[in-house]
């Protein structure tokens, strides 16, 4: 057996014994180095090639991009360090098991449905981005590439590209994601350098190293995202992971809460340097080829033009390594939800939904809004976990109430979760509030409602007993 096969076997073995329903024992704890690489790889994804150019489309100015992204990413790192990692190291439980203790198994199933569906749309965006890297391998015009304004498939060749990439991703996800995790691990340093290489070539072609001047939009450019918008977007684009506590599942293995600082590698390499590099790619096309920033240019064409095939490989791998675990996780979510479905069936279902979402460019082209909605729906659960962990004793409500009462469905959690989300969705749809502004107030409102409703429920229970 080769060392690679041995490593893969060890990875799959560890994946099947991940202490999902118990505290992580001391022998399984990992040092900080395990987290720095993981975060750097996970947050340098194919979608970064979309987000940078979308900032250009939204007319973000240089100050917002350079200072706003710095501030927003710093706030995200602090959230990971002082909320997620602190709770993870004290509880040492997965998000799902902790939720089950608070909300009951039935509500975890509902959360799984929301999570699984949102995962599918996210992986679909990654399929869209990866599929744009297929076009340059064929004669020009063979595959019509989507633009920022595309919502529907651009033609049969585009659909075929998405299906081919999506099927390949799903088949690999069926095998478990050991191999893909390894490819992702190996590619992380190289991938980051390809992003930087794209920016260096672009600066050379534009004949200047004055990034500030290049990031300053021409006068008259409509500005649809403010400094605060950029700060909140970069803070909450991973809201489900930090304030929403999905990363409890990862950080529970950390020896100390200081492992939360490792998120800085993902934020400052992937969500700062890589976004700015990707933005420069579109700025070149706007300045030199007269491309309308509102229409944009697909990532595959821009990257191929800048750094050639190495860039195309990067776009495909960046999408693949992040979409694959996402499809796998969505499959697990569906498996937990649909009784009797096999792992294969659940992964195929997830893969099919991802491919369907990937064929429609609407999801990838509206990524700035989508990640905000994703956070708004999932982050409030984190608000409940924060209340349970830090404030339950102080405010006089029971910790882990569903576990104590043996309940499979805690209606208090359901109401506390759905009411703020419904209000937030109303604000987004009818009042045009930027989606990234919503996860924080939603999580706080959810936590407060949970306290109030828990106290009311306890008072009613006492009254009934009396």
């Amino acid at each position: 057996m080769s060392s690679l096969e041995r490593e893969i076997e060890e990875l799959e073995e560890s994946a099947s014994s991940e202490y999902e329903r118990q505290r992580v024992p001391a022998k399984a704890l990992k040092g900080p180095s395990a987290f720095w690489g993981m975060y750097a790889g996970e947050h340098t994804a194919g979608t970064e090639f979309m987000i940078g150019p979308l900032f250009v489309k939204w007319g973000a100015d240089a100050f917002s991009l350079i200072v706003g992204l710095l501030l927003g990413n710093l706030l995200a790192v602090l959230t990971w360090r002082y909320l997620t990692a602190t709770i993870a190291c004290e509880e040492r439980l997965t998000l799902y098991y902790k939720m089950e203790k608070i909300a009951g198994r039935g509500l975890v199933t509902l959360y799984n449905l929301a999570n699984g569906l949102l995962f599918c749309f996210l992986a679909g965006s990654m399929i869209t981005v990866s599929a744009t890297a297929v076009g340059p391998f064929f004669p020009p015009g063979t595959i019509e590439m989507p633009t920022f304004q595309s919502t529907m498939p651009t033609g049969p060749a585009w659909i075929a590209s998405c299906i081919a990439i999506g099927v390949a991703m799903t088949l690999v996800a069926l095998k478990g994601y050991g191999v893909v995790a390894q490819v992702g691990h190996y590619s992380a340093p190289w991938m980051f350098l390809v992003f930087v290489a794209c920016a260096l070539v672009t600066l050379g072609r534009l004949g200047t190293a004055d990034v500030w001047a290049l990031l300053t939009p021409p006068e008259g450019t409509p500005k649809t995202i403010s400094f605060l918008g950029i700060v909140f977007f970069s803070w909450f684009c991973n809201a489900a992971m930090h304030i929403g506590m999905a990363d409890l599942s990862v950080l529970r293995f950390a020896k100390k809460p200081s492992a939360g600082w490792a998120s800085a590698s993902g934020m400052f390499l992937g969500h700062y340097v890589a976004w700015i590099c990707a933005a420069l790619l579109l700025i070149y096309w706007v300045r030199q080829h007269g491309v309308d920033p509102q229409v944009g240019k697909d990532p595959g064409t821009m990257v191929n033009d800048a750094v050639g095939w190495a860039g195309l490989i990067c776009v495909i791998i960046a999408g693949w390594t992040t979409a694959n675990p996402t499809i796998y996780r969505a499959g697990l979510a569906f498996q937990g939800m649909i009784p009797g479905i096999s792992r294969t069936g659940a992964t195929l279902l997830a893969g099919g939904l991802c491919i369907a979402a990937g064929i429609f460019p609407a999801f990838a082209m509206n990524l700035l809004d989508f990640v905000g909605i994703y956070g708004t729906i999932l982050a409030p659960i984190g608000g409940i976990i924060v209340v349970d962990h830090f404030f339950a004793d102080a405010v006089g409500i029971p910790r882990d109430p569903a576990e104590r009462s043996g309940s499979a469905f805690n209606p208090v959690v359901l109401v506390a979760w759905l009411v703020p989300v419904a209000v937030a969705m109303w604000l987004y749809k009818t009042q045009g509030v930027f989606a990234s502004y919503l996860p924080l107030p939603c999580a706080i409102a959810c936590g407060l409602l949970y306290i109030i409703l828990s106290k009311l429920a306890a008072r009613d229970a006492i009254a009934v007993r009396a």
Binding site: Y186, V196, A197, L203, R205, G207, A310
Partner: protein
Amino acid sequence: MKAAATSVGLLALAGTIVPPAVFMLQSIAAGQGGTPGLSLDTVKAIMLVSTIAWFAAAPFWMKVE
């Protein structure tokens, strides 16, 4: 073997970032209308070779936790 793979890996990373950096510096120095000494096609070719070298070497020395 590990030492050789490490050397190839580090060279591959250098091959991914150094040519674009040289291209940028030469292009800026050459000014508007000037031609850099290192052509973009050469940069792309070196980057592709470096990519292949990186993926060939990385599994032999990068630790997976």
